[in-house]
């Protein structure tokens, strides 16, 4: 991987250049509706991939934390005839509070789940997801079933309808920053510790590392990332309701992360792009129509059964085929999908 020009880098650069000039190349619908959505969904999926690839924690709570940030933002910044608290704060102050609460909830959720791993972790975070959804559906003082409408954006962003490019570029820069920071964190001592915990928690514990504490901190950090995604979503959609964080939405982000490949951060945006395109265009295919989730479920099933590395895994196999290297995605195996037991 030390070569200056690798297939990954070429594709990455092309993707970045395309992302930078996208508003000039594709129409406003693509920029405003699809690409912006891809960027913030990718941010949420990246928080999940960060946890699963480097911490061994497949979390289903990322969408609920994304939603909590969005609901907090909606409650404190709206100032009108919508549900919620309508506090009418400055949007930036709302962002700070939204992210702070997302991190706080992440600390709480993380601390409770930090002593569980694998599918136990998956189940516990799924209960968080469903409970958060029911909470916002039932508690009418902060949301209720209909949700919060008319969430304002800061002046610099403007209305996403009038200026789709502004929110697009802000999302793009945010996604890039998130990506770079995540890459930095996983290489920093704390990230290396996290990978150590993923591979052998007992050894790390006997070396004197506080395993639950590290897991909790990693979870809270991922909550910050998911919260950023939630803020962008609330601005983009100008509306958030419990359906934005229901089980379907939770599974959608899981699908994005798995389709992207649960072990590389880039996969988050690859999966998100795939998801929004399928979501948008599958309705035009006659026999699919409204059955988008049947299609995405079938794709998800096929990916899990055939290529656990997702699209990125397929890509790496493809590259390795041509470069002659035999180093496939499965060699890394950071997500403990486990090894098949001999058939008994």
């Amino acid at each position: 991987m030390t070569r200056l020009v690798s297939a990954d880098r070429v594709v990455g650069t092309v993707a970045l250049v395309f992302a930078a000039i996208a508003p000039a190349v594709v129409n406003a619908y693509w920029v405003g509706a699809l690409l912006t959505q891809m960027l913030f969904l990718g941010i949420v999926a990246a928080s999940l991939i960060f946890l699963s690839a480097y911490g061994g924690m497949v979390s289903l709570a990322q969408v609920s934390i994304f939603g909590i940030a969005g609901f907090v933002l909606g409650n404190v910044t709206t100032n009108g005839n919508t549900k919620g608290l309508n506090l009418g704060w400055d949007p930036w102050l709302g962002v700070v509070l939204a992210l702070a609460i997302a991190v706080g909830v992440g600390l709480l959720f993380g601390a409770l789940a930090s002593r569980s791993v694998g599918i136990y972790f998956l189940m516990i975070t799924l209960t968080y997801a469903v409970i958060a959804n029911l909470f916002f559906g039932q508690v009418t003082s902060v949301s209720g079933f209909g949700g919060i409408s008319g969430i304002p954006t800061p002046h610099i962003v403007g209305s996403p309808d009038a200026h789709p490019n502004r929110l697009y570029y802000i999302s793009l820069v945010t996604a890039l920053v998130v990506y770079v920071v995540l890459r930095y964190v996983v290489r920093a001592p704390v990230g290396l510790t996290l990978q150590g915990l993923r591979d052998d928690p007992i050894r790390m514990s006997s070396l004197g590392y506080n395993v639950p504490l590290h897991r909790t901190v990693a979870f809270a950090f991922a909550a910050l990332v998911a919260g950023i995604g939630g803020v962008l979503f609330a601005w983009w959609n100008a509306h958030i309701d419990p359906a934005s964080i229901d089980l379907t939405a939770t599974i959608d982000v899981l699908v994005i992360a798995v389709v992207g490949g649960l072990y590389r951060l880039e996969g988050a945006w690859v999966g998100a792009l795939f998801f929004v395109i399928v979501n948008n265009y599958s309705q035009r295919i006659g026999f699919i129509g409204d059955r988008f989730h049947t299609l995405i479920g079938a794709i998800f099933l096929a990916i899990v059964l055939v290529s656990p590395g997702g699209l990125i895994g397929l890509w790496e196999r493809f590259v390795n085929l041509f470069s002659g290297r035999r180093r496939g995605p499965l060699d890394r195996n950071p997500v403990e999908l486990g090894h098949a037991e001999p058939s008994v």
């Binding site: 599918i119 968080y128 998800f300």
Partner: protein, 370 residues
């Protein structure tokens, strides 16, 4: 006391003396005891009927009738939770498969029974069938068929997708999630988005007079409790008194050893998956008669199953029973005994229940480390 261990070479994070740790532990126990004691005292003695914290019934001393009704509601709801969660925990305990499609199976079982009942009796009026139109057979036959259909469906899923991924528990969980997405979407397409009820038979649609504080209690809830009790006893006898049950219990402890002893463990897995999924289907019939069927209901029932087994401990039948009881009582008492302006917050108590149990016992009350 054990001999003092030498300090590890590098200690990260907080370093506490033994006295501090003991003080923290005592503080934790006291806090926990208060957290458990306060709701009890509140419900029994404190809950007011007037003022800012007014509750709908007031304390148990003030209004024993509604207290007993809430208690019965909690216990009977627990019965339904147990039917659904026992299937979940049976599958998990033996095969380490977290069946995320359990909620979708529940809903599918309900819809199968609903359609069959309508087929047998007729479509009924604008709001579906009423109990007066349905006799006992027209409820029991759909229930049995739905149980078998959902059991077969689970069996097919296990044989097609899960069998060759044994031991890869995360991958199996993802596979069941994929199945649940497809199933939920297809149910939405075929059965629509309108909430519908399965009609109880007319034999159950009446009130029972308890002759205590003048309580008139619905028979349907008692029927649910009776079914749950029957299933619990049958499962217990099956697991403790039959050869298959013995193999299942041995398989929970050590699959490889059991199969090395010449037992056909794949057959046992198939039976357990059939029974576990079938219980989700039966739960769907009862839940569909009790609370109705609609898209999204599957998520709620998956939540109940997860919470019950997280609290009770994975793979433990007794744990599922205790977990169901705790969830049933918590949800019902929270909904009835929170101050009237705050009853919407009752969902938080489900979370608090999970949080308290996980903080004290990460593997659940009756769970063992995996």
């Amino acid at each position: 006391m054990e001999a003092p261990l030498r300090q590890p070479a590098r200690v990260r994070g907080l370093r506490l003396t033994r006295t501090q740790i003991r003080a923290l532990r005592i503080a934790g126990v006291v806090l926990l005891a208060l957290a458990l004691l306060f709701p009890l005292v509140w419900v029994l003695f404190l809950a007011p009927t007037t003022g800012a914290g007014a509750t709908s019934f007031g304390s148990a001393v003030h209004d024993p009738k509604d207290f007993l009704i809430t208690l019965l509601n909690g216990i009977t709801a627990a019965g339904l939770y147990f039917v659904v969660a026992s299937g979940f925990t049976l599958i998990f305990g033996l095969m380490r498969v977290v069946n995320m499609a359990h909620g979708a199976f529940f809903l599918f079982g309900g819809y199968v029974a609903l359609k069959l009942q309508r087929h047998l009796v007729g479509e009924g009026g604008a709001f579906g069938l009423t109990s007066s139109q349905v006799n006992l057979t027209n409820w029991i036959v759909p229930a049995i068929v739905a149980t078998a259909v959902v059991g077969a469906m689970g069996l097919v899923m296990q044989q097609l997708f899960l069998r060759w991924n044994q031991g890869q528990d995360l991958r199996q969980a993802l596979i069941t999630i994929a199945v649940s997405i497809i199933l939920a979407d297809q149910m939405l397409a075929h059965f629509g988005g309108v909430a519908e009820d399965i009609a109880w038979p007319r034999n159950f649609d009446k009130f029972v007079n308890f002759h205590v504080y003048g309580i008139q209690y619905t028979l349907t809830r008692l029927v649910i409790l009776a079914i749950a009790g029957g299933i619990g006893v049958l499962l217990w006898l099956w697991l403790k008194r039959t050869r298959t049950g013995m193999v299942i219990r041995a398989g929970v402890d050590d699959r490889a050893m059991v199969s090395a002893l010449g037992v056909n463990i794949q057959l046992t897995f198939a039976i357990a998956f059939f029974v576990g999924s079938g219980l989700a289907g039966l739960g769907g019939v009862i839940g569909g008669s009790f609370a109705g069927l609609a898209p999204g209901v599957d998520a709620n029932w998956l939540l109940y199953s997860l919470v019950v087994v997280i609290i009770g401990g994975m793979g433990s039948l007794g744990g599922a029973a205790v977990g169901s009881l705790l969830v049933g009582l918590t949800t019902n008492f929270a909904a009835s005994y929170l101050p009237a302006n705050y009853t919407y917050y009752s969902i938080i108590f489900t979370f608090v229940l999970v949080a308290v149990v996980l903080a004290v016992r990460p593997n659940g009350l009756f769970g063992r480390p995996a």
